[in-house]
């Protein structure tokens, strides 16, 4: 299992954000769905080793997250796109991606080719020498995806990766996701149910800090009936599962 977490719990003040949550993921593209405030981003931050749960066990790439050595080994094989991020104003797009290649301790001789390959995969090679601040929001997002995939991570975490992308780019991005999911575990957190239906092999649904559904998009769609709100089968399934849990 690339991701194996058991009964993790995070509490900020009096609010319980993750509540005895279990999750096991292997190679492939996985969708993470849930309403705002469900704990999606906190879960992504735990998997990115940026947040530490108050209780529970986290194993990534077969390694328990604990001492510094294990953490460093796991982080070298990690790709993480946070929900929002800034940039260093003087960096060009290429330097931005190169910086993360160095931070992830890639072998030096692989860095130049890997940086350009990552930029090519997100369609930014023609803007590679422009400063980050001259890019549109969607392009900055794609640069963020490029830094996440530059080290060919075995665990790739993308928090709302399609925010700001236009429909055509979204189609290209889904193709990239399927490509990446062949030999990596890709977890895509999104509130766009349609993204999940098209690009993901499996879906996990989180609400109130708990995992309330895990299965294929087809299974999620099958959970919905004609009476449920939504424009597509999978949206109706999504609202049906949520309603059943909250009832």
């Amino acid at each position: 299992m690339t991701v194996d977490i058991e009964k993790i719990r995070i509490r900020y003040g009096r609010r319980v954000v993750l509540d005895d949550l279990d999750l096991a993921l292997d190679t492939g593209v996985h969708g993470l769905l849930g309403p705002n405030g469900a704990g999606k981003t906190t879960l992504m931050r735990v998997l990115a080793t940026v947040a530490r749960p108050d209780a529970g066990a986290v194993r990534l790439l077969g390694t328990p997250i604990g001492d510094a050595k294990a953490l460093r080994r796991v982080r070298r094989q990690l790709g993480y796109l946070p929900q929002s991020f800034g940039f260093y104003p003087r960096f060009t797009v290429r330097e931005f991606v190169e910086y993360f290649a160095w931070l992830k301790e890639m072998p030096a001789e692989r860095i130049p080719v890997a940086v350009d390959r990552a930029l090519e995969r997100v369609g930014l090679l023609d803007r590679a020498d422009d400063r980050m601040r001259t890019l549109s929001g969607g392009m900055q997002r794609r640069a963020g995806i490029a830094q996440a995939i530059v080290n060919d991570p075995r665990l790739l975490l993308l928090d709302e990766p399609t925010a700001g992308l236009d429909p055509e780019q979204r189609v290209e991005f889904r193709a990239l996701l399927r490509e990446l999911g062949v030999d990596a575990c890709v977890l895509v957190s999104t509130h766009l149910v349609e993204d999940v239906a098209v690009a993901c092999e499996r879906v996990s649904l989180v609400d109130g800090g708990r995992l309330i559904f895990s299965g294929t998009p087809e299974q999620l769609a099958a959970a919905g009936g004609d009476g449920d709100a939504g424009d597509s089968a999978i949206e109706r399934g999504y609202t049906a599962v949520l309603r059943a849990v909250r009832a």
Binding site: R76, Y80, F85, G86
Partner: protein, 253 residues
């Protein structure tokens, strides 16, 4: 063996008429020979323009790595550039008009605390726009803070030494010791509290020390004079040991 290429071969190569093996050895020669490169006929077909501009990442040398690790952190730069600027101005004022406009102790308060402020500004959720991504990388945590501290020290230590000699307090070389010791203390504390809180604590302690010693006859100079050096070195060593043994890399809360 003849060391240069004939005009006929150069012409043939430039028109793409040369057989492959001959073209390869000619290109290998051109790579090394400026004279023959200059003789390539000028009416060459223009290079294709539709090629993507690939491979322009700098060669991945050790120097490049250090430059990237130290140089990135411009958000911090704003903070420590202004801190450095303030100290430079103070230093100049004190040097030109000793003890009149700005008392020496203001300089004593500001200069050694500079790298502490820079360190605080260099890393953290609120000061680094890429914090989340950097923190999840193999360099996240103490390792990147150390690199950024190096970049801060590179700028602030010379300023600190200049301030020392301008102030007329203590020995200029000894001014570097509180700078280093306070920075090391900040790093050691940062393992537990994060850089921002650590820096506030250390800066407050330094301010208490400076203001407390002002009432003594030496007027604060004892903090930066030769007899205080062993004490600073001891603080520096202890803080360095704590910093290096801490498992700082564990994910921050």
């Amino acid at each position: 063996m003849s060391s240069h290429v004939s005009d006929a071969d150069l012409r043939a190569w430039s028109e793409d008429r040369l057989a492959e093996p001959a073209a390869w050895s000619l290109e290998a020669h051109l790579d090394q020979c400026r004279a023959c490169r200059g003789r390539v006929p000028a009416d060459l077909p223009p290079p294709p323009v539709d090629l993507p501009p690939q491979g322009r990442v700098r060669p991945p040398s050790r120097a490049r790595r250090i430059r990237m690790l130290i140089g990135a952190g411009p958000q911090a730069r704003v903070a420590w550039f202004s801190a450095v600027a303030v100290t430079v101005v103070l230093t100049l004022v004190v040097a030109i008009q000793p003890g009149t406009v700005v008392p020496q102790w203001v300089l004593l308060l500001a200069a050694p605390a500079l790298p502490v402020l820079g360190t605080a500004a260099s890393y953290g959720r609120h000061t680094d726009p890429l914090y989340e991504m950097v923190a999840s990388s193999a360099y996240g945590g103490l390792r990147i803070v150390l690199w950024r501290t190096l970049s801060v020290l590179a700028v602030s230590l010379p300023v600190s030494a200049a301030a020392g000699s301008a102030s007329g307090l203590g020995a200029p070389a000894v001014w570097l010791l509180p700078s280093l010791a306070l920075t090391a203390l900040t790093l050691a504390l940062a393992a537990r509290t994060g850089p921002a809180v650590a820096a506030s604590i250390v800066a407050a302690v330094w301010a208490v020390l400076v203001l407390g010693t002002l009432w003594s006859p030496a007027n604060g100079a004892q903090l930066v004079d030769a007899p205080s050096a062993p004490a600073w070195l001891a603080v520096l060593a202890a803080a360095a040991v704590v910093t290096l043994t801490r498992r700082f890399q564990e994910a921050p809360r």
